[in-house]
Symmetry: C2
Subunit: 208 residues, 2 copies
């Protein structure tokens, strides 16, 4: 499974190199100061190749957003979630997801990745094409979590909750935590993880 | 108490008019396309007055962020929260806060305000001065909520939870919901409100 941390390593082919150059330029300069010139400076081949592939900065950045979201989605450990039947504690099942999304501390690489995601997310407030992609993303994660919750209800270890509502709530918590992590120093991550666990144990689990 | 919706009405004096002009320009053009020229176009007096008051766009925008956060903080109905002793249902106490922060639907004025806040928040990923202000903001709200939770514990209606952790968790949910509301069309607000209520009743309230 791909990891967000391996983002910089996947540099095969021009698209990947364009994506990598965009990422590096975004991390260094921030969205507001991002120019195609600066992206070109991070590109290892002739800059004209970027222009050949992309009809301007807007198209490049939209492809970049799609690339980032895919990386992010592939990094979530849904496949690592233990089947409820095999878990000693049914809470373990959701723990891998919560640990991933709400890790109390994060590597500088992960913070940088999150920073880039949040800057792109900010653009979606005024750009319908960005919003379209974040809409898909904001449905993808809750969809996967709802499936886990449904399996838990089937297995008799999760109460008769509304799986979609639960998943949507957790997603809002993940998004809020990501935003706070890179836009404030209030250091909320450990407390959010702790209370998300209290929510899972009190609201979801039959024997919480 | 001020309301975010009354933002546009407080136009006394040059500072307020500068803030109002910045707000209108931000709403119309988005942060990425915001220029002092465009702010000037929304300003009812001579543009030179803006330059007289502010040494460039950065200083103006920093003052604007501070103004926005104050408006936002003043709009929260903390003073409307009923004392636990007077409430028929102890849940009513936190309901006013949750209703305000997680309203399932929002007026276009409120959405526009939220959009502006989220765009400014995105900048904090790369601007230490913005991050400083959001750090203060991300501590202000949880501080007020923690005080409510402490009062509930004192009154014997809230369990022996960690008030700061609870408040921090709710704040992440509020921030996530705000971000999603204006950057995706996944329409999460009603489900988030519903599960926040489940959290309050199951994790916090003694007789939930």
């Amino acid at each position: 499974m791909a990891d967000a941390d391996s983002f910089l390593e996947s540099t095969d082919g021009t698209r990947e190199e364009s994506m990598c150059a965009t990422y590096l330029a975004l991390c260094e300069h921030g969205y507001a100061d991002l120019t195609i010139q600066r992206i070109g400076e991070e590109f290892p081949k002739s800059k004209s190749l970027i222009y050949h592939h992309y009809d301007g900065k807007d198209k490049l950045l939209r492809d970049f957003l799609s690339f980032m979201l895919t990386q992010f989605e592939d990094a979530a450990p849904f496949e690592d979630a233990m089947p409820f039947e095999d878990a000693d504690d049914p809470g373990d099942h959701l723990d891998a997801i919560l640990d991933h999304a709400l890790a109390p501390s994060a590597s500088e690489t992960r913070r940088e990745f999150t920073r880039a995601m949040i800057e792109l997310r900010g653009q979606a407030a005024h750009d319908a094409k960005y919003r379209e992609q974040f809409t898909r993303h904001d449905r993808f994660f809750p969809g996967r979590i709802a499936t886990l919750v449904e399996a838990g209800i089937e297995a008799g270890v999760i109460k008769q909750v509304d799986p979609d509502a639960v998943a949507t709530f957790l997603m809002a918590t993940f998004n809020g935590s990501m935003v706070e992590r890179v836009t404030s120093d209030a250091d909320a991550a450990a407390a959010v993880r702790e209370e998300a666990d209290a929510y899972v144990r009190s609201v979801l689990l039959e024997d919480g």
